[in-house]
Protein backbone atom coordinates (compact mmCIF):
# COMPACT_ATOMS: atom_id res chain seq x y z
CA UNK A 1 0.00 0.00 0.00
CA UNK A 2 1.35 3.33 -1.09
CA UNK A 3 0.21 6.74 0.14
CA UNK A 4 1.46 9.69 -1.90
CA UNK A 5 1.02 13.39 -1.16
CA UNK A 6 -0.50 15.19 -4.15
CA UNK A 7 1.45 18.46 -4.48
CA UNK A 8 -1.41 20.06 -6.41
CA UNK A 9 -4.32 19.63 -4.03
CA UNK A 10 -2.63 18.65 -0.78
CA UNK A 11 -4.39 15.31 -0.34
CA UNK A 12 -2.55 12.33 1.12
CA UNK A 13 -3.83 10.07 -1.64
CA UNK A 14 -4.18 6.33 -1.31
CA UNK A 15 -2.67 4.27 -4.12
CA UNK A 16 -6.19 3.32 -5.26
CA UNK A 17 -6.98 7.00 -5.86
CA UNK A 18 -4.03 7.30 -8.23
CA UNK A 19 -3.26 6.14 -11.76
CA UNK A 20 0.34 5.06 -12.41
CA UNK A 21 2.09 6.80 -15.28
CA UNK A 22 5.36 4.92 -15.54
CA UNK A 23 8.84 6.31 -15.42
CA UNK A 24 9.43 10.02 -14.73
CA UNK A 25 11.57 12.52 -16.63
CA UNK A 26 11.50 10.79 -20.01
CA UNK A 27 12.92 13.03 -22.72
CA UNK A 28 11.01 12.94 -25.94
CA UNK A 29 13.00 11.98 -29.02
CA UNK A 30 11.28 13.44 -32.05
CA UNK A 31 11.20 12.62 -35.79
CA UNK A 32 14.72 13.93 -36.34
CA UNK A 33 16.34 11.72 -33.71
CA UNK A 34 18.52 8.67 -34.30
CA UNK A 35 16.70 5.32 -34.48
CA UNK A 36 18.39 4.15 -31.29
CA UNK A 37 17.35 7.26 -29.36
CA UNK A 38 13.79 7.00 -30.62
CA UNK A 39 13.62 3.33 -29.66
CA UNK A 40 14.90 4.18 -26.19
CA UNK A 41 12.31 6.91 -25.79
CA UNK A 42 9.50 4.56 -26.79
CA UNK A 43 10.56 1.35 -25.10
CA UNK A 44 13.61 1.80 -22.88
CA UNK A 45 12.63 1.87 -19.21
CA UNK A 46 14.64 1.30 -16.08
CA UNK A 47 13.32 -1.13 -13.48
CA UNK A 48 15.53 -0.54 -10.47
CA UNK A 49 15.49 -2.23 -7.11
CA UNK A 50 15.83 0.82 -4.89
CA UNK A 51 15.58 4.51 -5.73
CA UNK A 52 13.09 5.21 -8.49
CA UNK A 53 11.29 8.23 -9.95
CA UNK A 54 7.76 7.76 -11.24
CA UNK A 55 4.81 9.62 -12.71
CA UNK A 56 1.44 9.42 -11.00
CA UNK A 57 -1.91 11.02 -11.74
CA UNK A 58 -4.37 11.97 -9.01
CA UNK A 59 -7.11 10.31 -11.08
CA UNK A 60 -9.77 10.09 -8.35
CA UNK A 61 -9.00 13.59 -7.09
CA UNK A 62 -7.82 16.80 -8.71
CA UNK A 63 -6.78 14.97 -11.90
CA UNK A 64 -3.27 16.45 -12.03
CA UNK A 65 0.03 14.73 -12.77
CA UNK A 66 2.88 14.65 -10.28
CA UNK A 67 6.18 12.85 -9.80
CA UNK A 68 7.32 10.74 -6.88
CA UNK A 69 10.65 9.52 -5.54
CA UNK A 70 10.44 6.18 -3.76
CA UNK A 71 12.32 2.99 -3.04
CA UNK A 72 10.80 0.12 -5.01
CA UNK A 73 12.07 -2.45 -2.51
CA UNK A 74 11.14 -0.85 0.82
CA UNK A 75 8.26 1.38 -0.40
CA UNK A 76 9.94 4.29 1.39
CA UNK A 77 8.65 7.53 -0.18
CA UNK A 78 10.96 10.53 -0.11
CA UNK A 79 8.57 12.99 -1.63
CA UNK A 80 6.47 14.18 -4.54
CA UNK A 81 6.61 17.23 -6.79
CA UNK A 82 4.59 18.67 -9.68
CA UNK A 83 5.09 17.08 -13.10
CA UNK A 84 6.04 20.52 -14.43
CA UNK A 85 9.42 20.24 -12.67
CA UNK A 86 12.30 19.23 -14.96
CA UNK A 87 13.98 17.34 -12.11
CA UNK A 88 13.57 16.53 -8.44
CA UNK A 89 13.95 19.59 -6.17
CA UNK A 90 17.24 19.83 -4.26
CA UNK A 91 15.75 19.13 -0.80
CA UNK A 92 14.26 15.93 -2.18
CA UNK A 93 17.57 14.84 -3.71
CA UNK A 94 19.24 15.58 -0.38
CA UNK A 95 16.68 13.44 1.45
CA UNK A 96 17.37 10.53 -0.90
CA UNK A 97 21.11 10.98 -0.52
CA UNK A 98 20.82 11.01 3.27
CA UNK A 99 19.08 7.62 3.16
CA UNK A 100 20.84 6.03 0.19
CA UNK A 101 24.35 7.54 -0.16
CA UNK A 102 25.77 6.99 -3.62
CA UNK A 103 22.35 6.36 -5.21
CA UNK A 104 22.09 6.65 -8.96
CA UNK A 105 19.09 6.72 -11.29
CA UNK A 106 19.43 7.46 -15.00
CA UNK A 107 21.65 10.55 -15.05
CA UNK A 108 20.61 11.61 -11.56
CA UNK A 109 22.56 10.72 -8.47
CA UNK A 110 23.61 11.77 -4.99
CA UNK A 111 26.64 13.98 -4.51
CA UNK A 112 29.87 12.00 -4.20
Amino acid sequence: MLILFCPHCGVEADETELAPGGEAHLRREGPGSADEAFEGYLFGRVNPKGVHFERWRHAYGCGKWFLAARDTATMRVWGTYPASEAGPPDPLRDAVTADRPGWAWRDLGGAA
Binding site: H8, C9, G10, V11, E12, D14, T16, E17, A59, Y60, G61, C62, G63, K64
Partner: protein
Protein backbone atom coordinates in the same frame (compact mmCIF):
# COMPACT_ATOMS: atom_id res chain seq x y z
CA UNK B 1 -28.09 3.56 10.46
CA UNK B 2 -27.94 6.50 8.09
CA UNK B 3 -30.55 7.11 5.42
CA UNK B 4 -29.52 7.39 1.76
CA UNK B 5 -31.59 9.29 -0.78
CA UNK B 6 -31.10 10.81 -4.21
CA UNK B 7 -30.99 14.59 -4.34
CA UNK B 8 -33.38 16.20 -6.78
CA UNK B 9 -32.17 18.09 -9.84
CA UNK B 10 -29.14 20.30 -9.20
CA UNK B 11 -27.90 23.32 -11.11
CA UNK B 12 -24.19 22.98 -11.72
CA UNK B 13 -21.65 25.02 -13.66
CA UNK B 14 -18.04 24.05 -14.22
CA UNK B 15 -15.49 26.84 -14.23
CA UNK B 16 -11.93 26.20 -15.35
CA UNK B 17 -9.66 29.21 -15.25
CA UNK B 18 -7.03 31.00 -13.17
CA UNK B 19 -9.12 31.04 -9.98
CA UNK B 20 -7.46 34.15 -8.56
CA UNK B 21 -8.29 36.06 -11.74
CA UNK B 22 -11.91 34.92 -11.55
CA UNK B 23 -12.54 36.03 -7.97
CA UNK B 24 -14.09 39.35 -8.96
CA UNK B 25 -16.44 37.85 -11.54
CA UNK B 26 -17.53 35.17 -9.09
CA UNK B 27 -18.26 37.69 -6.35
CA UNK B 28 -20.10 40.13 -8.63
CA UNK B 29 -22.03 37.45 -10.51
CA UNK B 30 -22.94 35.01 -7.76
CA UNK B 31 -21.90 36.62 -4.49
CA UNK B 32 -19.49 33.75 -3.87
CA UNK B 33 -15.88 33.72 -2.75
CA UNK B 34 -13.32 31.41 -4.32
CA UNK B 35 -13.12 28.54 -1.82
CA UNK B 36 -9.81 27.53 -0.33
CA UNK B 37 -8.14 24.34 -1.48
CA UNK B 38 -10.26 21.24 -0.63
CA UNK B 39 -13.11 23.44 0.60
CA UNK B 40 -16.61 24.44 -0.42
CA UNK B 41 -17.98 27.96 -0.07
CA UNK B 42 -21.74 27.96 0.42
CA UNK B 43 -23.69 24.74 -0.18
CA UNK B 44 -25.55 22.71 -2.78
CA UNK B 45 -28.19 25.42 -3.26
CA UNK B 46 -25.62 28.12 -3.96
CA UNK B 47 -21.96 27.38 -3.59
CA UNK B 48 -18.53 27.02 -5.10
CA UNK B 49 -16.58 23.79 -4.59
CA UNK B 50 -12.83 23.43 -5.13
CA UNK B 51 -12.28 20.65 -7.67
CA UNK B 52 -8.67 21.30 -8.74
CA UNK B 53 -6.15 24.16 -8.73
CA UNK B 54 -7.78 25.49 -11.91
CA UNK B 55 -11.35 24.24 -11.50
CA UNK B 56 -14.45 25.06 -9.46
CA UNK B 57 -17.86 23.45 -9.50
CA UNK B 58 -20.58 26.04 -8.92
CA UNK B 59 -23.94 25.10 -7.46
CA UNK B 60 -26.87 27.25 -8.61
CA UNK B 61 -30.64 26.86 -8.68
CA UNK B 62 -31.90 23.97 -10.86
CA UNK B 63 -32.46 25.18 -14.42
CA UNK B 64 -30.25 28.24 -13.98
CA UNK B 65 -26.98 26.62 -15.06
CA UNK B 66 -27.09 27.86 -18.63
CA UNK B 67 -27.88 31.45 -17.72
CA UNK B 68 -25.25 31.54 -14.97
CA UNK B 69 -22.58 30.08 -17.26
CA UNK B 70 -23.34 32.68 -19.93
CA UNK B 71 -23.33 35.52 -17.42
CA UNK B 72 -20.10 34.38 -15.82
CA UNK B 73 -18.49 33.97 -19.24
CA UNK B 74 -19.35 37.59 -20.06
CA UNK B 75 -17.97 38.81 -16.76
CA UNK B 76 -14.72 36.89 -17.26
CA UNK B 77 -14.25 38.59 -20.64
CA UNK B 78 -10.62 38.38 -21.67
CA UNK B 79 -9.59 36.03 -18.85
CA UNK B 80 -9.00 32.63 -20.52
CA UNK B 81 -11.69 30.31 -19.20
CA UNK B 82 -14.05 27.42 -19.75
CA UNK B 83 -17.46 27.96 -18.23
CA UNK B 84 -20.27 25.55 -18.99
CA UNK B 85 -23.60 24.27 -17.70
CA UNK B 86 -22.93 20.72 -16.49
CA UNK B 87 -26.16 20.23 -14.54
CA UNK B 88 -26.85 16.87 -16.23
CA UNK B 89 -23.28 15.55 -15.95
CA UNK B 90 -23.50 14.36 -12.36
CA UNK B 91 -26.10 13.20 -9.83
CA UNK B 92 -26.15 13.86 -6.12
CA UNK B 93 -27.05 11.82 -3.05
CA UNK B 94 -27.54 12.64 0.61
CA UNK B 95 -26.30 10.32 3.35
CA UNK B 96 -28.02 11.52 6.48
CA UNK B 97 -28.41 10.60 10.10
CA UNK B 98 -26.44 8.66 12.65
CA UNK B 99 -23.46 6.81 11.22
CA UNK B 100 -23.30 8.73 7.93
CA UNK B 101 -19.55 9.09 8.34
CA UNK B 102 -19.05 5.33 8.50
CA UNK B 103 -21.30 4.72 5.51
CA UNK B 104 -18.80 6.73 3.46
CA UNK B 105 -15.65 5.66 5.28
CA UNK B 106 -16.30 2.00 4.51
CA UNK B 107 -16.23 2.82 0.80
CA UNK B 108 -13.41 5.34 0.57
CA UNK B 109 -9.69 5.48 1.41
CA UNK B 110 -10.07 9.17 2.36
CA UNK B 111 -9.58 10.24 5.97
CA UNK B 112 -13.13 11.04 7.09
CA UNK B 113 -12.36 11.70 10.75
CA UNK B 114 -14.11 14.89 11.91
CA UNK B 115 -10.71 16.59 12.27
CA UNK B 116 -9.92 15.98 8.59
CA UNK B 117 -13.41 16.00 7.10
CA UNK B 118 -15.36 18.65 8.94
CA UNK B 119 -17.54 21.59 8.08
CA UNK B 120 -16.68 23.17 4.69
CA UNK B 121 -14.45 20.28 3.64
CA UNK B 122 -14.85 19.09 0.05
CA UNK B 123 -13.05 15.93 -0.98
CA UNK B 124 -12.81 14.17 -4.31
CA UNK B 125 -12.07 10.51 -3.76
CA UNK B 126 -13.09 6.98 -4.61
CA UNK B 127 -16.31 5.32 -3.39
CA UNK B 128 -16.17 1.63 -4.15
CA UNK B 129 -15.19 1.54 -7.79
CA UNK B 130 -16.10 5.05 -8.89
CA UNK B 131 -14.85 8.61 -8.55
CA UNK B 132 -16.95 10.80 -6.27
CA UNK B 133 -16.97 14.14 -4.51
CA UNK B 134 -18.15 14.20 -0.90
CA UNK B 135 -18.71 16.99 1.57
CA UNK B 136 -20.54 17.43 4.88
CA UNK B 137 -23.87 19.16 4.47
CA UNK B 138 -27.04 19.25 6.56
CA UNK B 139 -27.42 16.28 8.87
CA UNK B 140 -24.78 14.23 7.06
CA UNK B 141 -22.94 14.45 3.76
CA UNK B 142 -23.68 14.95 0.11
CA UNK B 143 -22.17 12.78 -2.61
CA UNK B 144 -21.70 13.64 -6.27
CA UNK B 145 -20.85 11.14 -9.02
CA UNK B 146 -21.05 10.99 -12.80
CA UNK B 147 -24.64 10.27 -13.86
CA UNK B 148 -23.76 6.91 -15.39
CA UNK B 149 -22.47 5.80 -11.96
CA UNK B 150 -25.69 6.89 -10.25
CA UNK B 151 -27.44 3.50 -9.93
CA UNK B 152 -24.26 1.83 -8.76
CA UNK B 153 -23.53 4.54 -6.20
CA UNK B 154 -27.05 4.56 -4.76
CA UNK B 155 -26.96 0.78 -4.23
CA UNK B 156 -23.43 0.94 -2.88
CA UNK B 157 -24.35 3.59 -0.31
CA UNK B 158 -27.52 1.74 0.71
CA UNK B 159 -25.61 -1.51 1.15
CA UNK B 160 -23.01 0.27 3.26
CA UNK B 161 -25.76 1.80 5.41
CA UNK B 162 -27.61 -1.54 5.65
CA UNK B 163 -24.46 -3.30 6.86
CA UNK B 164 -24.53 -1.09 9.95
CA UNK B 165 -22.01 0.66 12.12
CA UNK B 166 -18.55 -0.61 12.92
CA UNK B 167 -18.05 1.99 15.66
CA UNK B 168 -14.89 3.54 14.31
CA UNK B 169 -15.73 7.22 14.74
Amino acid sequence: MADVRALGPLGMVTLRTDLAAAAGALRDGLGLDVPERLRIAGDTRRGAAWMAPDELLLFVAPGEGGAVAADLGRRLGEVPHLCADVSDLRVGFAVEGEGWREVLAKLSPADLHPDAFGSRAFRRTRLGQVAAAIWPEGDGAHVLVFRSFGDYTLRLLRQSAFDGAVGFF
